[in-house]
């Protein structure tokens, strides 16, 4: 059925490796694949699977060590220029010139692609109206929000009508509204100009919208099929569990330890279970859990992804078996219990208080009068798109940025002026897992433990704990820069926990990390919360909001809503959408807000 003429991309036995100072990495390992024309093909896989390498190779930016790669019937090694003139490539960080306006950026790309001047006006008009950027043509690209930047990047990649569009994680860090708009643009181009699209994505719900999906892992292709085929393998293996006796987090922790359970995930009000085997016409049975209700449910695409990766275990990757994980952590929970009893004494206190906080940069208000309180032992989420002001608010809470107005209190102190002992009670994990890149894991842990005043036996114990708990021992003497992203995240998390803080600040802890590492991360975070640690977390993954006890949703520096995820979702229940997801809720909130503003302006 796949005749060569239909294939817009054809790879035969492609291998490519990179030499690192210490080792070499086989980024692509003997890959053969065909991508059909006229459709959207999704490229998914954990971090370091080789997705970006593959896309760069297809764009003629990298040469394979061996094998043959053809794009649009042309060999990428022999004709890279010709290919580049016919494709649009949008790398993860698109090369926008931040000091040029939107219009100037588009002109630049039109010049680079030699678009005749008389054709430009109509093309610009179409792209600007599609991306809804027309009102902003005179704005500097650097002043656009994250979502708008991505839309502009896409528009620039489309200035010369390409036959093939290669998009590398175009929606990472983009808010749901902008994501939806990006998809609209891609779909419109697909229908009107019959282009083909190859896109990599970390959002598996996006992969579900593709016509064809390629799952990569460790430089190899695990499977290529339509999303429906992926999901079919999961038939009769997915269930929703619910118990009135246990909290969601408790239930999730219990169920993930049960035999036969491949994955347990909080899904809105229930626990979404993935079983190792199909159970036909019945539901899995678990003993000892009171008042447990289980019903079958439609498999998600993500379930297939997780199942495929978990049945392909690989010690060198971020994949670990949750079962051993859970056992290990139950052992270490003894010392947490002591802490718990200490903390639970005054459990109803508000440990973090934010009162009408304002942060101004010049005449720009990044945060305009936000108020909320966080109780001891809560997981509190700060949700919002890039540029919503959550990072600014977060930095004010940690004392990294003074507030222009209003009050910020963490455990009774303003951390900006607080004494060293007050800061010893908080842990902080910065965005992008900030670590000393040319220091080894050991040196990083040694430094952070010392910075928190640990020494002697206690220091030794905590470092050993970090190595065991986060399974870092294998990489003990590796530079943190050479670690896979999942391990960087673990190391950053371990560094933040060295001194057993009472309050934990996590800034985008799951950004760029694949679904497996995200699960592992939330598993640990839940355990910490159970032991009484207060956790403040920012995220732009809307589904992660379900892990929070309460959360605040921000947009343009203001509060859209505050409450528990259940309350927020139930607020937007409607006849068409009886079970709205967090993402639906977010979009609905943003839209009602925009409407309100319009009404006021009218």
């Amino acid at each position: 059925m796949n005749t060569p003429s239909e294939a817009i991309i054809q790879l035969d036995n492609i291998s490519l490796s990179f030499a690192l100072p210490a080792t070499s990495v086989q980024a692509l390992d003997n890959i053969s694949v065909k991508v059909k024309a006229g459709q959207i093909t999704g490229l998914i896989g954990p971090d370091g699977a080789g997705k970006t390498t593959l896309m760069r190779l297809l764009s003629g930016l990298l040469k394979p060590d061996s094998g043959q790669a053809k794009v649009l019937g042309l060999d990428v090694v022999k004709n890279p220029q010709q290919i580049q003139s016919m494709i649009g490539y949008m790398p993860q960080r698109f090369g926008l010139y931040e000091d040029l306006t939107v219009q100037e950026n588009m002109d630049l790309y039109a010049d680079l692609h030699n678009i005749p001047v008389d054709q430009r006006a109509s093309r610009y008009e179409k792209l600007l109206s599609m991306s809804q950027m027309a009102p902003f043509t005179a704005r500097l690209a650097g002043k656009l929000s994250g979502g708008m930047k991505q839309k502009l990047g896409l528009a620039c990649a489309l200035v010369s009508p390409p036959r093939l569009l290669i998009l590398d994680e175009p929606t990472v860090g983009v808010d749901p509204v902008s994501r939806r708009e990006l998809w609209q643009i891609i779909n419109q181009m697909l229908q009107e100009e019959h282009i083909s699209v190859l896109m990599s994505t970390a959002y598996l719900d996006e992969a579900e919208r593709c016509n064809d999906v390629i799952l990569m892992h460790k430089g190899q292709i695990l499977q290529q099929a339509s999303p429906e085929v992926f999901s079919q393998t999961m038939q009769n293996r997915t269930f929703l569990a619910h118990s009135t006796a246990l909290s969601k987090r408790h239930l999730q922790a219990r169920l993930s330890k049960e035999a036969g359970v491949l994955d347990a995930l909080i899904d809105n009000d229930d626990i979404h279970l993935v079983m190792q085997e199909a159970i036909i016409n019945d539901v899995p049975a678990f003993n000892d859990i009171e008042d447990l209700h289980i019903r079958p449910t439609r498999p998600h695409f993500e379930d297939a992804f997780i199942a495929l990766l978990k049945t392909n275990p690989d010690p060198g990757n971020a994949i670990t078996e949750t079962e051993t994980e859970a056992q290990k952590s139950s052992q270490s929970s003894n010392d947490l219990n002591q802490k718990q009893s200490r903390l639970k004494n005054n459990v109803s206190d508000s440990i973090i208080k934010v009162d009408k906080v304002v942060r101004r940069f010049g005449d720009f208000y990044a945060v305009k009068g936000i108020s909320f309180e966080v109780k001891r032992g809560e997981i509190f989420g700060l949700l919002g798109a890039n540029g919503a002001g959550k990072s600014t608010l977060f930095r004010m809470l940690c004392g990294l940025l003074p507030a222009s107005d209003g009050k910020v209190e963490v455990a009774g102190h303003n951390l900006r002026t607080a004494s060293a002992s007050a800061r010893a009670h908080i842990g902080y994990m910065a965005q992008r897992f900030s670590l000393y890149t040319n220091l080894t894991i050991k040196q990083n842990l040694m430094f952070f433990s010392k910075a928190y005043g640990l020494r002697g036996k206690q220091q030794k114990e905590r470092i050993q704990w970090a190595l065991d708990e986060f399974e870092l021992a294998d990489y003990y003497n590796t530079n943190s820069n050479d670690l896979p992203l999942g391990y960087k995240q673990r190391l950053a998390f371990a560094a933040a926990l060295m001194h057993q803080p009472d309050i934990l600040f996590l800034d985008e802890p799951t950004s760029g990390v694949d679904p497996l590492a995200r699960r592992e991360f939330w598993h640990r975070t839940n355990e910490l919360a159970e032991s009484g640690v207060t956790i403040l977390v920012t995220t732009h993954f809307m589904d992660e909001a379900n892990y929070c006890d309460r959360l605040i949703i921000m947009a343009a520096g203001t509060e859209l809503a505050t409450g528990s995820p259940e309350d927020l979702r139930h607020h937007f229940k409607s006849a068409q959408n009886p079970e709205p997801s967090m993402e639906d809720t977010f979009i609905a909130l943003v839209e009602t807000k925009a409407e309100n503003r319009k009404n006021i302006n009218d």
Binding site: R395, C398, G399, L400, L401, P402, L415, A420, S421, R423, A424, I426, Y428, A430, Q431, R432, S434, L435, Y436, T437, N438, L439, Q443, M446, F447, F448, K450, A451, Y452, G453, R455, N479, A495, F505
Partner: protein, 369 residues
């Protein structure tokens, strides 16, 4: 509290020494500069190309020419026969100087007991021209004295007997090489500290440190220790090389030298940290370091005497720590100065160090984001 500062300092060392590029910065430029300044930079002129235009041909004139040719300062590149050869030689820089001995040179001498000698010199570089003229003047004076002696006549009424103190042979290397100690201990510690905070800002680790119980003051101290230590190690290596390799006499006490070096490093590191607290990217840090370095070296008296500068600029040099340290280095090396002799240099440097470190601390606190 001290434990945590040491932890930070240790981490700084690890970060610097484990990075190939920063290791190169530590080793490469110092060696290159030591070689350049030790060998290439000199105020002495040797083998000055000179052309002789001797129309006289007498015994006297040949005697004079042999004095010039025999001097280590001059090298006769051509014996000229015609007037029109002079101009191209100077124009093409084949000769810096042309000595013209007219045809009646010896005759006139015989009649008047004195005669004239013309020197044509390339004045495009006034400094070299003056130096070359000085040398030729000395040769002529020697020649005259010797001539009078062989003739059994009285020497001229006043004869100059020069005795140069501290540097008997007036070797410019003795002047320049000790200055390198100051130059190199300025450059490397300044760049290291200027980049240290910016590097962490770029990597995002600075936030991570700020939320630890470390206070800004502790962070500042932890960040200044590596600069001072690296400066001391580097200073030691350079001092050893100047004495053992370049054979520069070190007359004063090592203690005085190191006391001055430590004070100098404190002010250098203070300025480096000020630059660091202002810059957000490493590029800005490097730019800031160079914006300070170039005027600091020029206004230090390293190459050109401060006394030659306009008065306003001379006043400006008082805020330059390198100015004081150069006097200390040269004083200790060549004069054998003691603590007491250098008090007037120590206290301004201490003041600059204290002010710059305090300012850096203040800027740190007020620009933590």
């Amino acid at each position: 509290m001290f434990y945590q500062i040491l932890a930070l300092a240790l981490k700084e060392f690890q970060a610097i020494l484990r990075d190939r590029q920063s290791r190169l910065v530590l080793i490469g430029p110092p060696i290159a500069q030591l070689l350049v300044f030790g060998y290439a930079a000199t105020f002495d002129l040797n083998n000055i190309p000179v052309a002789i235009y001797n129309q006289d041909g007498s015994h006297l004139s040949r005697e004079l020419v042999s004095h010039i040719a025999g001097s280590p300062y001059f090298e006769v590149v051509k014996n000229i026969q015609h007037d029109d050869e002079i101009s191209p030689l100077i124009m093409t820089k084949k000769a810096l100087m042309v000595i013209y001995i007219k045809s009646d040179f010896s005759n006139e001498q015989a009649i008047n007991h004195s005669s004239h000698l013309q020197v044509i010199v390339d004045g495009r570089n006034s400094n070299t021209a003056l130096l070359a003229l000085n040398y030729i003047r000395t040769i002529i004076i020697n020649f005259n004295q010797q001539f009078l002696k062989t003739q059994g006549r009285h020497p001229p009424p006043a004869v100059l007997k020069v005795r140069s103190w501290f540097n008997p042979n007036l070797l410019s290397r003795w002047f320049i090489v000790p200055g390198i100690v100051a130059l190199l201990t300025l450059v490397v510690p300044l760049i290291i500290t200027a980049l240290s905070v910016a590097r962490e800002r770029e990597a995002g680790t600075f936030d991570q440190i700020l939320v630890t119980p470390l206070s800004p003051f502790q962070i500042l101290l932890g960040k200044s220790i590596p600069g001072v230590v690296i400066g001391l190690v580097q200073g030691t290596i350079i001092i050893l090389l100047t004495v053992l390799w370049f054979k520069i006499p070190l007359l004063g006490s090592i203690g005085t030298l190191y006391f001055g070096l430590t004070l100098f490093l404190l002010s250098t590191v203070g300025i480096g940290l000020m630059i660091s607290s202002l810059s957000i990217t490493q590029q800005q840090g490097l730019m800031g370091a160079f914006l300070f370095l170039v005027p600091a070296v020029i206004l230090s008296g390293f190459a050109t005497p401060i006394a030659n500068m306009p008065e306003l600029v001379q006043d400006l040099t008082y805020i330059n720590p390198m100015r004081y340290f150069l006097i200390i280095v040269r004083g200790v090396y060549l004069e054998g100065n003691s603590y007491a002799d250098l008090i007037s240099q120590f206290w301004p440097m201490t003041l600059i160090g204290l002010i710059s470190l305090t300012l850096a601390g203040w800027m740190f606190k007020h620009r933590m984001y």
